[in-house]
Subunit: 359 residues, 4 copies
Amino acid sequence: MSNTFGSLFRITTFGESHGAGIGVIIDGCPAGVAVDAAHIQAALDRRRPGQSDLTTPRKEADTVHIQSGLFEGVTTGTPISLFIPNADQRSDDYSHIAHAYRASHADYTYDAKYGRRDYRGGGRSSARETAARVAAGAVAAKLLAHFGIETVAYVSAVGEVEVPVGYELLDLSLIDSNLVRCPHPETAALMEARIRAAQAAHDTVGGVITGVARHVPAGLGEPVFDKLPALLGQAMLSINAVKGFEIGSGFEGTKLPGSQHNDEFYTDAVGAVRTRTNHSGGSQGGISNGQDIYFRVAFKPVATLLQPQQTINDQGEAITLVGRGRHDACVLPRAVPIVEAMTQLVLADLLLRARANRV
Amino acid sequence: MSNTFGSLFRITTFGESHGAGIGVIIDGCPAGVAVDAAHIQAALDRRRPGQSDLTTPRKEADTVHIQSGLFEGVTTGTPISLFIPNADQRSDDYSHIAHAYRASHADYTYDAKYGRRDYRGGGRSSARETAARVAAGAVAAKLLAHFGIETVAYVSAVGEVEVPVGYELLDLSLIDSNLVRCPHPETAALMEARIRAAQAAHDTVGGVITGVARHVPAGLGEPVFDKLPALLGQAMLSINAVKGFEIGSGFEGTKLPGSQHNDEFYTDAVGAVRTRTNHSGGSQGGISNGQDIYFRVAFKPVATLLQPQQTINDQGEAITLVGRGRHDACVLPRAVPIVEAMTQLVLADLLLRARANRV
Amino acid sequence: MSNTFGSLFRITTFGESHGAGIGVIIDGCPAGVAVDAAHIQAALDRRRPGQSDLTTPRKEADTVHIQSGLFEGVTTGTPISLFIPNADQRSDDYSHIAHAYRASHADYTYDAKYGRRDYRGGGRSSARETAARVAAGAVAAKLLAHFGIETVAYVSAVGEVEVPVGYELLDLSLIDSNLVRCPHPETAALMEARIRAAQAAHDTVGGVITGVARHVPAGLGEPVFDKLPALLGQAMLSINAVKGFEIGSGFEGTKLPGSQHNDEFYTDAVGAVRTRTNHSGGSQGGISNGQDIYFRVAFKPVATLLQPQQTINDQGEAITLVGRGRHDACVLPRAVPIVEAMTQLVLADLLLRARANRV
Amino acid sequence: MSNTFGSLFRITTFGESHGAGIGVIIDGCPAGVAVDAAHIQAALDRRRPGQSDLTTPRKEADTVHIQSGLFEGVTTGTPISLFIPNADQRSDDYSHIAHAYRASHADYTYDAKYGRRDYRGGGRSSARETAARVAAGAVAAKLLAHFGIETVAYVSAVGEVEVPVGYELLDLSLIDSNLVRCPHPETAALMEARIRAAQAAHDTVGGVITGVARHVPAGLGEPVFDKLPALLGQAMLSINAVKGFEIGSGFEGTKLPGSQHNDEFYTDAVGAVRTRTNHSGGSQGGISNGQDIYFRVAFKPVATLLQPQQTINDQGEAITLVGRGRHDACVLPRAVPIVEAMTQLVLADLLLRARANRV
């Protein structure tokens, strides 16, 4: 197990879908950051199940409790403990999978690795684990705000339905204006229809989330192994269901000739170094260059289907399994705050680490 | 700076393009692994410049020296030091970029981060740094071989020229049968033509490398942050010029419905747990499931062009720069051993870490 | 802040003296270890205040809650969260030190480092923090028991009152037979009297705890920086009030000639490698050699006195301060389980790390 | 193995007594520090064998080569590689111990741990390994000098011969005025006689080194596990032959009542916070308080004796062994720069980490 992420701004998460709850310890947040439960709660509310009829009908209050690390509303430099009690548990929902290996789930691999598993609600492999990341990200965001850094994410594709333009042509204030969290209203409507079609078919659908970080100063990223894209990539690929990550021009950029791909430098009116294009996605040599950081994260379709599937049990016998319970047909809308949180955690860590760059 | 990678099988690299040389310390390789310089050298020879007229005409001997950690040809559990002296240095080639910020290079970001940089040959940001990774990977491969694990990589796209089929339909023994390192001969010929066209145009071209690991036992990968895809992603995105990573079905998989994407489990003739499809790419819940691991890595086109480009110097003044020296028009063929090495390093580390899974 | 200890068996602690509570996340405990709350509670009960009139009259229930990581009473390989709610808080006790820098406390240094501090009960610098270590140590002990490893500690000195013989001549089953936790009854009586004299004088007294680990297999300890004595030393010196650590012959051994200090090897009746003396304290070259590991830990006298003391406030003004509240005149008896816990944590970690020694 | 030390200012050492050489990679030294080989060499010359007839007659040039990380004499933020080739090797000296387990050496434990060892000169367990630490410490010292921090160490005891006063009453400029490196000339003469007596008796003698760090700003040290005394303790106890560490009042301080031990705060003439006594040794709550840091390090007598000793071989058979070669009768004089180096490395790391304390 490795439930710690980050070097100086470091989080450790814990907890299963069922049991007392889930939580996170943030170690290394500098003293002097004003943090309030309402801010964290707002982030959690964007991730929680049961927000709308587009997501799982499972309702989880996901109420955060700040257990340590603050004094009079401000961080003291000591570890911050955030705890989210589990509620609305229905353990009996899961008895049918106690010995089954659901297709494309972690049942088999956990058994293979640990010799046992808590099968209730997926145990530690449950997407519920990401609530702890969102809570920690909300604290990181407060630190980043001291330095003017902003992060945002939105759904840019659901199945084959894609936003036709890049982030820089969108009004990102519209992200929360629809259930899908897509700032392109026409596409959002199509995405919503696509998700409802999957629901109706007792099937699921994947998609892509685009993340953007703005006003990141030049100098963040630690070559050669903790380059900015490398840590962002690790962060995103550690989220359940993520199968791909690309930054800047990504896979499409491999088709451009270098003469078109290169980002020409210039000095702007106020004397700042800028680039005319931004195929680099704000990172050169693994270090932020002051331009917008943007990237795309691929989420596979949800594995739990409300239709029969062939699989095996832990005795190797063929069985037929039908998903039960209350599951999302598409996780993308609820994954937006998770992508934001992981972005915030990476940037907070690199921000603190960059303080050691020079004498 | 963060020049250490891995938790138990841990490497630390050092060195610049110019200066005494580059190298790597491997700390944590178990005792009892037979290692010889010839094996490491063979890996380095696949990466070194000047292999053919398809790559840079710059010739670097890249001769590895084993400085510690072996006794009578076998690892002792102590740190293994591998050193590759620099040769064929032409420092005067670089005087023109001492104060220039080359487009899409690390010149500006290193200056912004550290306040100074060794501009000769790109200093630490030089692709030459990856030779140390290749050397370390060759040692990791020897460890993996004890457990039957095999890794391989090949060029699957150069610009818009792509291998039309998946890795499982290719004869991977053909990888080194052509200069491009593509096991699909017809496509290899097109790729070679594409690279020569870029050379002729004084331009460059990017592409995609596919990596495959076979016979990886179930159980490798450390949830929740050091999942197998997360560490592979970090590893690949820490390589110069890499802008994207996807595992299994990747970005394309986001367009499939869950009912098609799910990998159905079955028990094979010898009683082993297997999946009928492998959209998961050998990883479920972040842990290897015993199926093939496969992934794709996107390389942007080389930034150094042998044609004039507009940029600025470190005073912010506009200048025109023409790339000099001996540069690849396409790094993909030489990057194949780098992708293999990073795969080997990730798997060696996770293999050792998995020993602590159970009592 | 650095609230994480260990590499593979890794704990992260959090919490202040006042607030919701304190706790610990154990990440990396292998699956398959039976753990029960009663065992952890028993360890906590040996540390908690108010055990007898020899220690602080402050009573803390210190009830542990297991929040994650177990399924049907057995570890699953996922993070184990242990939480101990704070109770019996009297925040108003501490208003007089809100702006005072108590002598030999952490008030000044926390202010100097973080620019603020939670002054209630010492906040994070409170000895209460060690309860989390004791809880985690109890889990580590369960893992060690799988391998037959035993750890024990006892009070070997209180002020100038010292046990006159080495641990090997004591009946260690007597440790808990008296309030002082000293297995030498005559000395224990003198120690108790010494502590009561300090209480009567409104003063405090320090002392020494001896730790012993038996049946530790040869091979634990990771040269060159994580040698067994080095990690034990870090572990002990991270405990509040500890000012010294010595292993084996320690400071006294520096006075012996090498010819007397060397531990002669021999093969015992069952063919095991043993040493005739054990000045090495069970560690040679930083690695356990199969002999008993023993060491001594120096605790300074408690800094909080129930008598007036001169000091300054955070404005630099001279003030007179009288300790209030309910404090120990001697922490040694209650520190015994803390020393045991840190020993258990170090050995559990090194035990798991040693699995990667050989192919 | 664990050959990396430090978190932000991080060193990785490698190399055996025999073979190509030993070395160290420093990762994380900030850019902008002027470093020259002569400064490093001077530190190495204080550690090297053959300095005088008081130490081993074995002569090692110990010439340092800077292989990376500097540009025009100044650190660039990239890893600094320092290499010290082995010279004057006489491999045949060691054939007699190929299968012997020397008393109180690491021969047996390395075999037990790794299943094999490089027996030539002790391999990785050789004290020669510490040369790499000294070289790295010299670089750390250059960083510390930017902040006015000074470190020094001296021999305070050889066997039972002890300096009768504390460091604060000594003229520390006299440390290198005699062969023993003791700044109290009368005691130095006695120490020298004590060492010569051991030489004459073909025996060895241990002792104590006192370390002092001055002008360390308040705020260094990371509670709760990386407290300043904890990291210093780990650092010192990772040095070959060290069996004890104490800071401030140490073991003796456990005998003082709290009323005498407490360090009373006051404000000095220039408004700085100071303490009237310094039993704390410059650290309170694990964080530096601006007063002098001082500590004592216990070195056991050298294990290699030039007289016959009983032991066993790797078949468990009893043998008689006589030390050959060129060994120190007392390592203390040569260990002074090692203690300094480890102090410098700890402080450099904590200095950089402290930058993340506050927003």
